[in-house]
């Protein structure tokens, strides 16, 4: 099937639609014994039309599952081993011998870290929200008079009076589990205890001593004042500009 060479150029070109040629129908078109009329066609899920594609899909799944199900005892380590090295972030002594593991570790624990309270978040968005709600005194003042707690889901514009209301919204509307949390608190113990973050997480999941407002964005109810010394995190820096307004 030879395609005109200009076609590839068209694909790479600018968006646009063709100026349509004039449409002029004869009433005799498609009349008995003929019957053609242009029709949009839709197929429901069980239609035979989908058989071939469905079969291909399942063949692919069978292949994948054979690989997943048959995973060896020790999961594969795709990255090369290197001589042992330590994480260079201050206060972290985690040791690695594979670059991919380090990348994962850094990403999970050091990438979006609040410079005030050292909690780590999975994304810049969540970190920004945390800083705003916990380390910005202006936020607290405004929150007394208006709905300031923004829904955590990007794209949802709802705002709430309290973080508990927001939590309820997340659970009811966005199907979050009732005890979700995003932050990974700082390690209260010494260096490199594997699973320390999970332990604190696990404890907090069932923890009743968290005050009534407790939800994912906070571990304790005290607010931390912005620290005067310059922070390593760029977000803290931009935040400090905010409070000066």
């Amino acid at each position: 099937m030879q395609l005109p060479p200009a076609l590839h150029a068209r694909l790479a070109g600018a968006p646009g639609s063709a100026e349509p040629l004039p449409v002029e129908r004869d009433p005799a078109a498609g009349t008995t014994p003929f019957s053609f009329a242009p029709r949009l066609v839709r197929f429901p899920r069980e239609h035979d039309f989908f058989e071939d594609g469905d079969v291909q899909r399942h063949l692919y799944l069978q292949d994948v599952l054979t690989q997943v199900g048959g995973a060896p005892e020790r999961p594969r380590r795709p990255s090369a081993r290197v001589p042992e090295f330590t994480c260079q972030v201050a206060g972290c002594c985690q040791v690695f011998d594979a670059l991919e593991d380090y990348e994962h570790h850094y990403h999970a624990l050091h990438r979006n870290v609040c410079s005030f309270c050292k909690r780590a978040f999975p994304s810049g968005h969540l970190l920004d929200t945390h800083i705003l709600e916990w380390h910005d005194s202006l936020f607290q003042i405004l929150a007394e008079r208006q709905d300031m707690y923004q829904c955590l889901v990007e794209g949802c514009t709802e705002k709430f009076r309290t973080s508990r209301d927001r939590k309820e919204h997340l659970v009811m509307r966005h199907l979050y589990p009732a005890d979700f949390r995003f932050d990974k608190p700082r390690r209260s113990r010494g260096p490199a205890v594997p699973g320390a973050a999970e332990q604190v997480l696990a404890e907090a999941l069932g923890d009743d001593r968290v005050p009534s407002e407790g939800d994912a964005m906070e571990v304790c109810s005290e607010h931390v004042e912005p620290s005067p010394e310059p922070a390593g995190e760029r977000r803290a820096y931009s935040h400090r500009c905010l409070t000066r307004i």
């Binding site: 005109p4 349509p20 129908r25 078109a29 899909r57 999970a108 589990p177």
Partner: protein, 458 residues
């Protein structure tokens, strides 16, 4: 971006011919299952995998106490190996439906699994994803439904990393997409599950994961494209998806796919092409797709260019998917003078005619698209003429398939009506003889006679 991250190849235990034979058998089994409406049965997916993976080992049934022990170890064990080992054992157990049931009934189990899926230990995250895989194989919808609340949360967590996905996150995402696709395939999905999915932000997350660009991962995109397909073809509330930009996202993805097939030999792009073609085709039938507004509609001529590049690719790679591509072309052209004009101005009629020899189903669809163009009137038929169209039609009249011939007759009527000289040329090329062989066929004879009259008497 487009390369699939797949584990190592399985060791070849048998010859290539045996593998082909095996594959044909599997394909036949799947076709049979689908016809019996059993394709959703997870047993079909599992049996093969189990046999090969376990090699005689039978997964144990675990009780509550054992599951709790595994979860505790996985969460709080001090040794990394110990924690992984616990999850591996749990995963094995989850291959049994009894263990699955016990697991979901155990308080906090899903919560713990979610915690592990967002662990900062890569290997734990991977094993947790495998556990999720196992759970989504369950025959019992209760098990899979138990995983649903976690999905929204997990997607928020994982999309937060969208700036640069790392391998374990991709695995978790893919597992999530797969689990969701199994859930959406269930018989009760349209009444029970799809409405709540549509009411959440899951569709927006899914569309985000289908945005073309450097972050797009093929394995993840495939799973979520299938999720979208199951939602859309269930016809619960497609208008909502359109307002969320589904048409434009999928349209852009189609363009991206066409670009990718030109660049790489990589196997696997057809896995994504299939659900994308289906989603677009079905969405185009919604009234909302034609609503005034522009932004949300699909008008871009590049979509037609992309589709043809994909048709060429499918012809090579997966001819059985050609009907799906042509279905989209039908829905694009049926009510759109603009897209019909694009077919003409981009010189795509001849490539289209090349597909006439592939199969009867494909031929009928090609002829239908040509009818879509021709029925718009003389300005369109003029551009279809002369060219190879006439000789192609004479060829299709030699087919024995009634539907192919019938569609050819419809096209001829339109050409005779709108294009002066068409009937004449038809006669000169022994068209009457070509028509004669169908004079006795019940479904065709009236149309054959009508055309004979027109050709002879104008």
């Amino acid at each position: 971006m487009w390369s699939r991250q797949r584990g190592g190849l399985k060791p070849l235990r048998c010859g290539v011919e045996q593998l082909r034979c095996r594959r044909r058998e599997r394909e036949a089994a799947l076709r049979k299952a689908r016809r019996e409406q059993q394709l959703v049965s997870k047993r079909l997916l599992r049996d093969e995998a189990l046999e090969e993976a376990e090699e005689g080992c039978v997964a144990m049934i675990f009780g509550e106490a054992e599951i709790q022990q595994f979860l505790r170890l996985a969460q709080r064990g001090t040794e990394e190996k110990e924690r992984e080992g616990a999850l591996v054992s749990l995963r094995r157990g989850l291959q049994r439906p009894e263990t699955q049931q016990t697991f979901i009934r155990l308080e906090g189990s899903i919560r713990t699994l979610v915690g592990l899926l967002t662990s900062n230990q890569a290997l734990l995250q991977l094993e947790a994803a495998r556990c999720l895989h196992e759970l989504s194989h369950s025959e019992q919808s209760a098990v899979v439904e138990a995983c649903l609340p976690a999905t929204s949360y997990l997607l928020t967590y994982l999309s937060g990393h969208s700036s640069d996905f790392i391998s374990p996150h991709l695995t978790v995402l893919e597992a999530l997409g797969y689990a969701l696709s199994q859930l959406l395939q269930a018989k009760e999905a349209p009444e029970k599950i799809i409405p709540s999915v549509l009411g959440s932000t899951l569709p927006q997350h899914m569309l985000q994961l289908l945005q073309p660009g450097p972050k797009l991962n093929l394995g993840v995109a495939v799973e979520f494209a299938w999720c979208l397909h199951y939602i859309i073809c269930s016809q619960v509330n497609n208008a909502l998806l359109i307002t969320q930009g589904a048409l434009s996202t999928l349209g852009l993805l189609l363009l991206d796919l066409a670009g990718a097939v030109q660049r790489t030999e990589d196997a696997g792009l057809e896995l994504l092409a299939c659900p994308v073609l289906r989603c677009l085709s079905n969405l185009l039938t919604e009234a909302a797709a034609e609503a005034v507004g522009g932004q949300l509609q699909l008008r871009d001529e590049r979509v037609v260019a992309a589709l043809f590049i994909l048709l060429q690719f499918l012809l090579q790679k997966q001819p059985s998917l050609l009907p799906e591509g042509l279905w989209l072309l039908n829905n694009l052209t049926a009510n759109s003078p603009s897209f019909c004009t694009s077919l003409l101005s981009l010189d795509l009629i001849e490539p289209l005619l090349h597909l006439l020899s592939v199969s009867n189903v494909v031929s009928v669809l090609v002829l239908t698209v040509l009818c879509n163009v021709a029925e718009k009137g003389p300005a369109y038929c003029q551009r279809l003429w002369p060219g190879p169209l006439l000789s192609s039609l004479l060829d299709t009249l030699a087919f024995s398939d009634t539907e192919v011939v019938g569609q050819s007759l419809e096209l001829l009527q339109l050409l005779f009506l709108y294009q002066p000289g068409a009937a004449q040329a038809f006669l000169q090329q022994s068209g009457l003889q070509a028509l004669q062989r169908h004079e006795e066929v019940a479904q065709l004879q009236d149309r054959v006679h009508a055309l004979q009259q027109t050709a002879l008497h104008g």
